[in-house]
């Protein structure tokens, strides 16, 4: 099965890096959508079938958490797994993410296999390698 993925980040280089890592991971992807802000992301969420959403937290206008709240209001999208990609990793912030419905998170900077591991975990693939959040080995960006 190929999965449709939405990447939301105001930084075009970071969107490209995330996309590159998803493709390099060998993960079976269908369409990969990109949005530079929360409003554009919501348009895509309303129109397209998505299997996973990966969003930055720190974005101008609507931040990642506000986007999550909006997505949760959409009946057809409220159950889509959401990964927050963030530089802000305090314990309180991470609790807030979970409380608002974020499924998992990736702390920046990240190694490529973190993306694959998190996606596999969320989508039920079998080769999940366990927690890799703090891992800094084996990366070949």
């Amino acid at each position: 099965m190929a999965y449709n993925i939405l990447i939301v980040d105001d930084s075009s280089p970071m969107r490209m890096v995330i996309k590159k890592n998803i493709k390099a991971s060998g993960f079976k992807t269908g369409k990969i959508f990109e949005a530079a802000n929360g409003m554009d992301a919501l348009d895509i969420v309303k129109k397209e079938w998505l299997d996973i959403i990966m969003t930055d937290f720190n974005m101008p206008g609507m931040n990642g958490l506000e986007l999550v709240r909006e997505i949760k209001k959409i009946d057809t999208a409220k159950d889509i797994p959401i990964i927050m990609i963030t530089t802000e990793g305090s314990q309180e912030r991470l609790k807030e993410f979970t409380a608002q419905g974020v499924t998992d998170y990736i702390k920046k900077p990240f190694v490529p296999r973190t993306i694959k591991a998190k996606m596999n975990n969320l989508l039920g693939e079998s080769d999940y390698e366990g927690e890799t959040e703090e891992s800094d080995d084996g990366c070949d960006f």
Partner: protein
């Protein structure tokens, strides 16, 4: 507090550049931007990120374009001559964002620091110290072919950690 923050800053810089850019580096003993990057130097990109938390202030990155461009190309996996200005400034902003986030986690992962959106600034503006600044920290970093620097200005300190 200052020493703890400096340590957190050094670890964050190492973490970001080693994890996402594979760039070897060493920290310089020089203090002050004027001692590290020539003030008249053209093509130094500067980016400012304001933050609020147990203490508030700004993080400023000074990075020569000659370093930022190949870093961006490596980061994105494209040739340098295909890059736009937005690609380079976007990467510089991302670097500041990642360093700041990583630094505050290193410093105190129980406290919440709100990070503003990073903004590019002129070299002069970035060098100018905020009148409200109470403390500042400077860190120069040498890479094999270039160098860059980071400055933190603290304008409001709620608690002495």
């Amino acid at each position: 507090m200052k020493e703890k923050l400096k340590r957190a800053m050094m670890d964050a810089i190492s973490n970001v550049f080693e994890t996402m850019f594979f760039l070897p580096m060493e920290f310089s003993q020089l203090t002050g931007i004027e001692n590290f990057l020539r003030v008249e130097e053209k093509g130094v990109l500067t980016c400012i990120l304001d933050f609020n938390g147990p203490f508030s202030g700004k993080v400023v990155l000074f990075i020569p374009a000659v370093l930022a461009i190949p870093l961006t190309a490596d980061f994105m996996g494209v040739e340098s001559d295909t890059l736009s200005k937005d690609h380079v400034t976007g990467t510089v902003k991302e670097i500041v964002n990642m360093i700041a986030g990583s630094m505050f986690i290193n410093y105190d992962d129980k406290s919440v620091f709100d990070l503003a959106i990073p903004k590019m600034a002129t070299f002069e503006k970035a060098c100018k110290e905020d009148p409200a600044s109470k403390e500042s920290l400077f860190l120069g970093v040498k890479t094999p072919d270039s160098k860059f620097a980071l400055k933190i200005e603290l304008t409001h300190i709620l608690s002495d950690n």
